[in-house]
Amino acid sequence: MAELTINDIIKEENLVYKKTKVMTDNVMHYCPGCGHGTTHRLVAEVIEELGIQDKTIGVTPVGCSVLMYNYLDIDMQEAAHGRAPAIATAIKRVMPDKFVFTYQGDGDLAAIGTAETIHSCNRGENITIIFVNNGIYGMTGGQMAPTTLAGMKAVTCPRGRDVNTMGYPLHITELIAQLPNVRFVTRQSVHTPANVRKAKAAIRKAFENQKDGKGGLSFVEIVSNCNSNWKMTAVDANKWMEENTFKEYPLGDIKVEWELQEGKISLRNRKLDY
């Protein structure tokens, strides 16, 4: 038997994976190794697999992912900073048969948009919120986010985050998990193949929760890196994230089918954590 050449393998009939058609061909503006690109693609793959491209309306935030609408081939709205859940609320209310999601960063969702986040969750809007938490403000140049880790440096806390004057890293995901109308809350990451698979399954579940008529809001946090503002390579940033961020923000399901998962939410005492 003759030896197979690469060209023998790279044939249409042998294709097992390629970028989904729900993604456009535009080159993403994200820094090399940024988790936004991966998360965008997972959302797009879920939309393709569920066959809901014509029924999905996305809402993009202000922050690095503001231009997400350039990358997904679906109808999208660009929100004012923090207001995406209010906008998604309205879209879902006026068109209840559509699949509606917001895609927000930590500044957008957990700082300026806290009220919109909490109240859309409290009303149990039947939407999906994708929350990308990289612990920093990326687009504006590396300022402190509500989720910046204690002691972690950012350009607005150059000596590290002082929890006594700047607050502790905000666990908005655990906060909203406690609201009765919230159905599904999970925290995932996209930095390894195994994590990507889990994150995709979570996103898929969060979208499927919009079609069974049971209602409720689904919330998927993706813990990610910001290697540029963390001043590391992408690979090092992922390693740092595993060693540091995951301690503050452990991965896993927090609430499934309206049931809080045991041990996932505990009281956090001042100072004792640090």
């Binding site: 038997m1 097992v16 994976y17 080159v27 190794g33 988790g35 690109g37 693609r41 990507v196 690979v235």
Partner: protein, 75 residues
């Protein structure tokens, strides 16, 4: 015994050379090229194509979706 042979095709012009795929590959197939693409990035390529099993791990962690994966069974 049937053997799996895989291969990846990298859209080298869109690759940003972040290296996340390198660590994701269980077989150590991938590396960054010495050459750079139009954007100045050392793009990813198959250094050891013989070892590729077409598992797609590289493609699914690729933040920019630039990797396509092919796989055949060889008798």
């Amino acid at each position: 015994m049937a053997k799996i042979r895989g291969a990846v095709k990298v859209d080298t012009e869109k690759c940003k050379g972040c290296s996340v795929c390198l660590g994701a590959c269980p077989m150590g197939v991938l590396d960054l090229a010495k050459e750079v693409n139009g954007k100045g990035y050392n793009y990813c390529y198959m250094k050891d194509p013989e070892k590729c099993i077409g598992c797609a791990s590289c493609a699914i962690v690729c933040p920019d979706g630039v990797i396509s994966v092919y796989k055949v069974k060889v008798d």
